[in-house]
């Protein structure tokens, strides 16, 4: 059954709760990574990279704003408060996106790993029973295609270049692998409910399976060795268990908001 708007969603408490928790994960992933992307401005190896990261940052933060707007319609606080006033433990992003940018190779590979996951997650929502989500997803998918194309191109280019570039890329993969596990967690958004009500079409295990298939293709093209199984970290960002990197990010990101939370910008 399709749910056409927030009003209708709020009539079904189980549906509503799972939906809100799910969209919170989407919003927090996009906002956090979007902010990290913006930190590259002026620091990329070339001006094209600078323009790309700022453009991608704008897209990701735009997607976050769209998801926060959906949450607001569903009865959550206004988008600015959701974005800037919540503390670290209230956030539901995966730990991967909150990590400091590190070097260029790390940032590019991290983005590739996230974009592939995000693409699969968007695919799972393409026929979502929640129509406002389904419609936004159709639009977001078209934009994300460019991000992935850019990121994959660079991973393959660095891998094939050999030498220092390849060494940085290999080191990035080693650093990234232990940061990946909760990307595939749905945290407190009940997977069974999400599937039963058709908010998503397939679950976490299927997401991870597809992700591994797609990432292996990119690793193959770049000539990178598959790092093997993803180790468990014991902490789940989707349950608000974050690394200190998130608190550091929030301190910077919310600095202006905290000056005067009721100001209109």
């Amino acid at each position: 059954m399709d749910i056409k708007d927030a009003h209708q969603a709020r009539e079904h408490p189980t549906y509503h709760q799972a939906l809100v928790r799910w969209i919170t994960q989407l919003a927090d992933d996009e906002l956090t990574l979007g902010h990290r992307d913006s930190e590259w401005l002026g620091l990329c190896p070339d001006i094209e990279g600078d323009v790309a990261f700022s453009s991608i940052a704008q897209d990701e933060v735009g997607h976050a704003a769209f998801y926060f707007e959906l949450l607001h319609e569903l009865g959550e606080p206004d988008p600015d408060r959701l974005a800037f006033a919540r503390k670290s433990h209230e956030r539901r992003n995966a730990k991967l996106v909150e990590q400091e940018n590190g070097d260029w190779a790390y940032s590019i590979l991290r983005h590739t790993l996230y974009d592939i996951f995000d693409g699969i997650r968007l695919e799972a929502m393409r026929q979502s029973s929640y129509l406002p989500l389904r419609h936004g997803v159709a639009k977001i998918q078209r934009e994300e295609a460019y991000h992935l194309l850019h990121m994959k191109t660079w991973v393959v280019r660095m891998g094939k270049a050999g030498g220092e570039a390849r060494q940085y890329l290999e080191e990035a993969a080693v650093r990234l692998w232990p940061q990946l596990d909760d990307l595939f967690s749905f945290g407190d958004a009940d997977e069974e409910t999400l599937l039963r009500f058709g908010i998503i079409a397939f679950g976490s295990a299927e997401c991870q399976k597809r992700w591994e298939e797609q990432v292996k293709v990119v690793f193959g093209q770049a000539g990178l060795l598959w790092p093997g199984e993803i180790p468990l970290s014991g902490r789940d960002g989707r349950l608000g268990q974050h690394d200190p990197a998130l608190a550091q990010l929030l301190k910077t990101m919310t600095e202006v908001y905290r000056l005067d939370p009721v100001a209109r910008w």
């Binding site: 704008q58 933060v61 460019y146």
Partner: protein, 153 residues
């Protein structure tokens, strides 16, 4: 009271703030205009989800449509159904984009647009990203200059 046709005509005056020669109608961003007693409702499709120009466009639409009669309440909603795609740009819009020095979008994601200056068909991708979310940067191998193009989305 304004008519629907008059509203569309007035919307021709609302330009994309990043491309001041092309109107929101020519960009294919206006989905529907509905005139009701004392009220006009406009549905628009953003070119990109995070387009920062939306607030500005909304204000311009309100100003244009409430000019003939200030008592009319103008409502602007941004909708994603259907999603805006680059095919929605009208022929006139494409012509004006080119005139402004921006190549109109190709029909495929990997199709390179022809140079808006010399018409050469084969350019090179300089950067998939450009000065705004909806544009990419190309390089023309014939007239040897970089040019911008609207992304195919």
């Amino acid at each position: 009271m304004v008519t629907e046709a008059e509203c569309w005509k007035r919307l021709q005056e609302v330009k994309d703030p990043e491309i001041p020669t092309v109107s929101v109608v020519e960009m294919g961003m206006v989905k529907r205009v509905k005139v009701m007693p004392g009220r006009v409702h406009v549905e628009m499709m953003p070119t990109f989800v995070g387009c920062p120009a939306l607030d500005l466009i909304r204000k311009q639409v309100v100003r244009q449509l409430s000019e003939p009669d200030a008592s009319v309440e103008v409502e602007v909603d941004f909708v994603f159904d259907p999603p805006w795609t680059s095919e929605r740009i009208t022929a006139e819009g494409a012509r004006k984009l080119k005139e402004f020095g921006i190549a109109p979008p190709g029909s495929q994601l990997d199709e390179l647009p022809s140079c808006p200056y010399c018409g050469e068909e084969k350019g090179q991708v300089e950067n998939l990203f450009g000065p705004t979310a909806c544009r990419a940067i190309y390089y023309c191998t014939r007239c040897r200059q970089p040019f911008e193009g609207m992304k195919k989305v």
